[in-house]
Assembly symmetry: C2
Homo-oligomer: 306 residues x 2
Amino acid sequence: MSAEFDLIRAITADLPKSDKVTLGVGDDAAALRFDGDAVVSTDMMVENVHFKQAWSSAHDIGRKAVAVNVSDIEAMGAVPTAVVVALAVPRDLERAWIIEFSAGVREECDRAGVSLVGGDMSRSEVIVACVTALGDVASRRPVTRAGARAGDVVAVVGKLGWAGAGFAALSRGFRSPKDVVDEARCPEVPYGQGVVASDAGATSMMDISDGLVQDLGHIAELSGVAIDIDAATLEVSEPMARVGAATGKAPLTFVLGGGEDHALAATFPDADDVPEGWRVIGRVQEGSGVTVDGEEPEVTGWDHFA
Amino acid sequence: MSAEFDLIRAITADLPKSDKVTLGVGDDAAALRFDGDAVVSTDMMVENVHFKQAWSSAHDIGRKAVAVNVSDIEAMGAVPTAVVVALAVPRDLERAWIIEFSAGVREECDRAGVSLVGGDMSRSEVIVACVTALGDVASRRPVTRAGARAGDVVAVVGKLGWAGAGFAALSRGFRSPKDVVDEARCPEVPYGQGVVASDAGATSMMDISDGLVQDLGHIAELSGVAIDIDAATLEVSEPMARVGAATGKAPLTFVLGGGEDHALAATFPDADDVPEGWRVIGRVQEGSGVTVDGEEPEVTGWDHFA
């Protein structure tokens, strides 16, 4: 048997399979059973654009590829169920890198409660990983970005600004503070909270991947409302403050503009609806755009095409 | 609004949406409704590995990215319903290339009867396209590679060897014969025939992407049977013969070893079960491996990791 099939066999040996998976890896396609509507999202991660081998281990990159995609499924208020993973690597990359990447994929699948059901492997000049994640809204409806109403409160769960501070540290040649650098290497996605928010009556939801202000801007635009963030509610953690001091950046810019933490942001009709573990950070109002304490903030998010 | 969102808006304007799609592009994830089990498959196409800009237009590459993935859905005997497309391109690639690629994606989605429901766009040194396709088996069961039984007949629908001959011509600097070169640029997938085969009682099925002998080897292995191909049933088309003469290759090697035509191969209990338009090319027997007229063939398929 060829080297390609041999490697794929090593990676996919003894894969756990949930009862949602009616046919796992090894055929032209996998088969899945959904109780309600299925949700699907895809994201590509490219070496030296989304990650650097000097900053992240193969294991980190495998974990992150799954995490950032499952985060989009959480953001719909769905139960994440499965992922497929396509990977392209340079010809001279060691086989051990691919095995470690795959171990990271499997570890994050375990954390997220999803099954790895398929993939593809090929060659490229740089490492490229593309993950497509699937989820089941079951008896619920998908929570979109378009349902926020004036009077709702805005709440978040998960970290904000940690990954941004971590990237700022890494790009200046630091390998610490560990907490923020680890978050840049692989975000700690608040798994399970998407369904919690949906059941609590969230009117809109999304994950924060491009920066808090930019991403809340999508909810504001699609819902036809304005959002005001209360700066006093935003936490600047101690490691974030240290990175700010070391890099000369205001730590709050990590919180407002730093992406890739994959926190969840949602709107709820009333502060009493906000689930345990979520923090209220603002209000939905009539109008348009996103403000911080009533003022237009001076932060921008991530734009691959700027 | 940023250049990235502006471009995505241009690409996704007025997308057609089937009634299987309950939420289209523009949110964290799309939402789909399935009548039966869902099938899912993913494939990545990398510049200078799977295609060359000198050989294929942006439109061809967009079409092919969809075609090769939907082919896997057909191979399960499912109705193709939706695709998501992730694209990474170099910073200096013209915007027109991306618009043309997207037009190709949309054209092939129309041909295949699937909805484009999501995507991702980012930067890379070379062009990388990753498509994930979804299908609905509805009231059927997925047709796997594992159900062939001794006594079944082997049949195919679609082209065999045309793309292989096309690549052989292109790699020698020719731009003709047009029919085989076009097939190399974008395969003509026999859309709809997966369900036809399933309804006709196919016991196993797959699409031919790595070469007839190699791919039938997967059915043989997973079904625990042997397959013998009757060489007299294989058509060597006139353009294929011309490429053989020009390149010094036996034309039958294109048919037996050339991949990327994405024909469908299936096994049926009896010749009378074989649907119209399919050609019987061999028999399933006790044993293991694939033979041609009882002999082991001297062809190999495609291995990215050889």
